[in-house]
């Protein structure tokens, strides 16, 4: 585990079957999706991440100060999410620590949930979800779950670095990318992402409440979205929307 980024387990687990990651990113899709999964499955808090590379932020819930990046779940499913954007400087150490922790806990599949910006999102009723896998096992799982593979494109942000670290460590990492608004919170995209997670990990998380609460979520996550958009400025996030330089 990276010394710069420490995963602290307040309720230690010997092993973890599946690990889901959803950070503030495009359309806050991943964060909204995994937060809904935590709430719906009533997953308990089991740890957090400490690092000098993270902003000096603590959040207060029900009068209790909390670390902004926290772990929830049990030995079947652990979820990592954050209530603050991860700055460029912290992404690589976080990805190193997370993948090392996943190997230590014998995680079978590490699933990152995120959004992929599409220009015509306003016209899309039900966003489609695309998948990227780091190995043949992951590709087979995507195929079984009928999730279309992203054939060409760029990934920028925490999920891109998790892919990089998973490739070098031989870890099965699947990235689920739901078509999203680029700069607006997108609960609709998060609902599509949850449906893909359901198929991939055999869960039964209902998205009805998420869709009912979508407009309130959009109002209440404006400032996190604004801060996340600001954090993208240092990481060439717009490259995700560039056409690939194909000449072969």
């Amino acid at each position: 585990m990276s010394e710069e980024m420490r995963i602290i387990e307040t309720k230690p687990l010997d092993s973890v079957k599946y690990c889901l990651v959803g950070m503030p990113d495009t359309g806050l899709t991943g964060m909204i999706a995994v937060s809904q999964i935590v709430e719906s499955m009533k997953l308990p808090e089991i740890g957090h991440i400490e690092s000098d590379l993270l902003p000096p932020v603590m959040v207060i819930h029900d009068g209790v100060p909390k670390f902004p990046i926290r772990l929830f779940g049990d030995s079947n499913l652990t979820v990592l999410t954050s209530e603050t954007p991860i700055g460029t400087i912290a992404i690589e150490p976080l990805s190193r620590s997370l993948t090392a922790w996943a190997i230590e806990k014998k995680v079978e599949i590490l699933v990152s949930v995120s959004g992929i910006a599409v220009q015509n999102r306003m016209e899309i009723e039900i966003p489609q979800v695309f998948g990227v896998a780091t190995n043949e096992k992951g590709k087979k799982l995507l195929k079984e779950a009928e999730i279309q593979v992203l054939e060409e494109g760029f990934m920028v942000g925490p999920h891109a670095m998790i892919v990089k670290e998973s490739l070098s460590k031989g870890l099965t990492n699947i990235v689920l990318l739901a078509q999203s608004h680029s700069g607006y919170p997108d609960p609709g995209a998060a609902a599509s992402a949850i449906n893909a997670v359901n198929k991939l990990l055999n869960l039964e998380v209902d998205v009805k409440k998420l869709l009912e609460d979508a407009e309130d979520i959009r109002v209440k996550t404006r400032e996190l979205m604004q801060r996340t958009n600001k954090s993208f400025e240092g990481m060439a996030k717009t490259q995700e929307q560039e056409l690939p330089a194909m000449y072969g």
Binding site: D216, V219, R222, E223, Q226
Partner: protein, 135 residues
């Protein structure tokens, strides 16, 4: 060394932008929220989009001045924040913003649409680029 007027103007713009992006997106005294807004400029037009959840199309009040786009839109119901920070109860009832446009536009040719809670306003530029013949 003295700074040029351009440098001073750029510094003022940067400071203003920094202040705008770091200030709160709400005002509890007026009950107004500021919407997330994106401004994209192309060769012949400016497109402003805004995320306006809890807003009905018929309630959107949009006006344009020289280089400003003004929006006011009441929410279909108040948004409440209970036990938030030092506020025991905080209520918001509308979105309000003034968007500074990067250049002058033709208000008579402006078009707006509202789909799935996102407002998109297309504003053709007044002065389009002058064509240069390539020899």
């Amino acid at each position: 060394m003295f700074k040029s007027f351009d440098d001073i103007e750029r510094e003022i713009d940067e400071t203003f932008e920094e202040l705008m992006s770091s200030r709160p997106m709400w005002d509890s005294s007026t009950g107004r929220l500021e919407p997330l807004t994106q401004v994209k400029e192309s060769l012949d037009k400016i497109v402003v989009t805004m995320d306006l959840p809890l807003v009905r199309k018929e309630d959107i009040h949009l006006t344009i001045e020289e280089k400003n786009l003004n929006l006011e839109a009441p929410l279909v119901r108040c948004v409440r924040y209970e036990r938030w920070g030092t506020h025991s109860d905080c209520k918001f009832s509308s979105f309000y913003t003034i968007v500074n446009l990067p250049t002058r536009v033709n208000p008579d040719k402006a078009k707006a649409k509202f789909l799935n809670g996102v407002l998109s306003v297309e504003l053709p530029k007044t002065v389009k680029g002058k064509k240069i013949n390539v020899e």
